[in-house]
Symmetry: C2
Subunit: 293 residues, 2 copies
Amino acid sequence: VLGLEVVLAGGSALRLGGPRLKDSAGLSLTRLVVGSEGTLAVVTEATLRLMPPQPPRMTAVASFPTTNAATGAVLAITASTRPAMLEYLDRPSINAVEDWRRMGLDRGAAAMLVAQTDAEGIAAERELATIISAFESHGAGEVLATADEEEGRMFVGARRDVIPAVERRGRLLLEDVGVPLPRLPALVDGIARIGAARDVEIALIAHAGDGNTHPLLVYDPADQRMVASAHAAFGEIMELAIGLGGTITGEHGVGRLKKPWLRGQLGDDVLELTRRIKHAFDPNHILNPGVIL
Amino acid sequence: VLGLEVVLAGGSALRLGGPRLKDSAGLSLTRLVVGSEGTLAVVTEATLRLMPPQPPRMTAVASFPTTNAATGAVLAITASTRPAMLEYLDRPSINAVEDWRRMGLDRGAAAMLVAQTDAEGIAAERELATIISAFESHGAGEVLATADEEEGRMFVGARRDVIPAVERRGRLLLEDVGVPLPRLPALVDGIARIGAARDVEIALIAHAGDGNTHPLLVYDPADQRMVASAHAAFGEIMELAIGLGGTITGEHGVGRLKKPWLRGQLGDDVLELTRRIKHAFDPNHILNPGVIL
């Protein structure tokens, strides 16, 4: 986002930034408004930097006997390279997709990783070799690598289908917690422990290369005990992420639902500073009241 | 910059962000403090994301008969690709380096471009071909392309030597104006016009691929008329950049020197908002007083 047109609470329209690739004049107000969830100003226009089209991607897929084997492979891969995609699906996710679509995924695997490289030629070959070697040295059962775009799209599609597939099993609470990459195995273990302790079905998918997970908590909205358990687990997962030096939301934002946990992550001082900045933009607190603060 | 430890004006230490690749919890305070030139808080620690080492670079260099030919080549290249480096040197810059180092640069060229690609294999070959084709179709006199890193470093070194080389000719006022890429030719033309009208020697170098230029205004500090002309040209160049939809500072910041022109770029409303944010952080204005605001 290079620039924004915003309308402030008082009604005036301002231009922040603009179509300049580099600009260090004044405070980074564009960056401040991005991700502020409508609490600072109303965005009426955005100027985006366009990127050249990406080259065709090569895909590598593997299934793992344990979740730790899969998260260990993620750490090994990201230690030396940054794949364009590195997605994680656990057994409940794989089976939910397989129940729905029958794609021939490995139902017995504890987890599956889908990696893609957008490098080209020798660089792509080298990145793919790094990925496959990490898969194999972490006990991957089946490893598949393909330059065929259609086949690659099929596996990416399986990952994309997880949310609607799990949604067929009940109402969802969609989590978005993230941690520093080295803590990913601890986060994945801890989420499973919380699910077991609360007797809540949790399917786990993750943008694993970013340390950002989406636990999908399944519940029956008609079963009050189950609703309470799911919401308790939802909070415990955020507390787990905070305890691991992580975040309650990697990409979806705080909104109203996660507001009670924001203080635990940011601390009183940062929340107080946030409140003062909010006040500087919107002294009467008329913009998206109840969100974030 | 993933995270910061900062000390506020009141003396409290806060942690903003942290070692998480994705985090959307609360306002982007890390981003706001970065580039605030010490006016919001004192940064006492920074957490940076490290990138994998870059592959060896290939280099392409060309000299051009006119500055418009060179800036036209920049627009042609950046229309379809993003080279790792795309640097511009004008004739006074080339000659200042050549006077100092005698590298065999083309003293008669109006401008020179130094491009590098950090792609690999076929992707590097394709990017280099795009660059060379743009050079040639814009009337480049000599075009040199090399995969030899030592040779590439020599040309990058020539670009790096421009500032000390021009400094041998007098005292410098170092500008930092940038524009949206399509306006780069107009900026380069306008800077030359201002230099001629004010009778100020200006050597122009640019991170051309970013639309960010560094006009180097040369003057004799003992000659009061020349000092006044150089400062007048310095201001006119910023006004030119603002008129072209650009910025008074692409990367160096506002500081004290450029403060009088900031209002012209941002406008009253954005400055007023900036003032309110400054006040939210530092109500007694004790942090870096006189900078930006």
